[in-house]
Amino acid sequence: MNTHHHSTVPSDPELRVKALESLLVEKGLVDPKTLDELVDLYETKIGPRNGAKVVAKAWKDPEFKKYLLEKPTDAIASIGYRGRQGEHMRVVENTADIHNIVVCTLCSCYPWPVLGLPPVWYKSAPYRSRVVSDPRSVLEEFGTQLAEDVEIRVWDSTSEMRYFVLPEAPADFQNKSLDELESMVTRNSMIGVEKIKEPENRS
């Protein structure tokens, strides 16, 4: 006696998508080439390397960093990243005393122009449920240890404001090139679940 009113096992999503695509194309509402363009955009052009460029530049250029913290949407647009899911940006800066982490407990809001599409774990129930109430256990799963006196700030993206973490620069950032720095910036450090790894510690 099943009292659930949810649907029975959903049909294969592959078939569902195929049916939906051919239906919408036949209807005259979707152009298959548009779909290819959209996929290409998010698979090859919009991704976390964008954010890494923003971070590296902020580390090297104090003027840009000031601009980034004060007018984040404009500063990010000034190096070419803007638009959908990044219309209203806010940058939160990690320091020796403060560590920021971003989540969306209600769905999976994420700053697409700088980070691309979110990874599976960011959209998952374990992350969304736990990071607001027990961030230290979440950080541990990412191998991130913070000193006890570091203040953790969790940003729950409940509005269209999109949060983006400016990680702490590596110790010797002044001796590194922009390209070197950019290559050290991980996606996870810009979500706030990891710190930038110093070269000797990198796996």
């Binding site: 998508v17 919408l24 036949e26 080439k33 774990w121 998952s124 607001v132 230290r136 409940t158």
Partner: protein, 222 residues
């Protein structure tokens, strides 16, 4: 609505088990590519807004929401909206064939491949004008109201009834509860700082703050 999507502070979902960043692909299955693209392309027809999309996904049965993968929930939400808004019929959806073309006016709104980049780059601002001055100032103590609307809201369950401090005022933004019902209204939006002990109880380790964006009608003076 108090449904399965409102996940903050819930227990029992197990480990996060993240994939390694440098080996996780953008898409894990080919159909996920198409699911994303269909949602974006259909959304660009302008027949529903972002809060209606969210509401459509949230209002699935909790078991479906939680057991389906993320893009499956996107598909479910899209299918529901297409039917609700009259773009396709139930019958067309179930057999995957169009019984008639869409109306001319609607077909004209089709997103052209050459417009993809500029459309995505333009995005959609939610900033609006408000005739009212903001009720709260930075530093004010506020309480998130204990509200339990049956329809869409962006006030998470774990914040309800809890006290915090206005950390920022973001101006007026589209009010999601109303937007999900098709009414585009601007309302002042604030970032509110909560001490974790206020949210999760006195035994919570200190040095932990949670910032939540909350609209003015979600708040009352504390």
């Amino acid at each position: 609505m108090n449904s399965a999507h409102d996940l903050g502070g819930r227990h029992g979902f197990g480990p996060i088990a993240p994939e390694a960043e440098n080996s996780e692909p953008v898409f894990h299955e080919d159909w996920e590519r198409k699911a994303l693209a269909l949602v974006l392309a259909a959304g660009s027809l302008g027949q529903w807004n972002l809060d209606e999309s969210r509401y459509s996904r949230e209002s699935q049965h909790p078991v479906d929401y939680l057991r389906q993968s993320y893009y499956e929930n996107w598909l479910s939400g899209l299918e529901k909206l297409l039917v609700e808004k009259g773009l396709v019929t139930e019958e067309e959806l179930s057999c995957g064939r169009a019984f008639s073309k869409a109306e001319e006016e609607l077909q004209k709104r089709l997103l052209q491949p050459e417009k993809v980049y500029s459309t995505i780059e333009k995005g959609g601002s939610t900033q609006m004008e408000s005739d009212e001055p903001p009720e709260f100032n930075i530093g004010d103590r506020v309480r998130a109201k204990n509200r339990h609307p049956l329809t869409h809201t962006r006030e998470p369950g774990y914040s309800r009834g809890r006290e915090g401090i206005i950390e920022a005022h973001y101006g007026a933004h589209v009010m999601p509860d109303q937007n999900a019902l098709g009414n585009r209204i601007g309302e002042h939006l604030y970032c509110v700082r909560f001490d974790a002990g206020e949210l999760w109880g006195k035994d919570t380790p200190s040095k932990h703050l949670v910032f939540i964006d909350l609209w003015e009608s979600y708040l009352e003076p504390a």
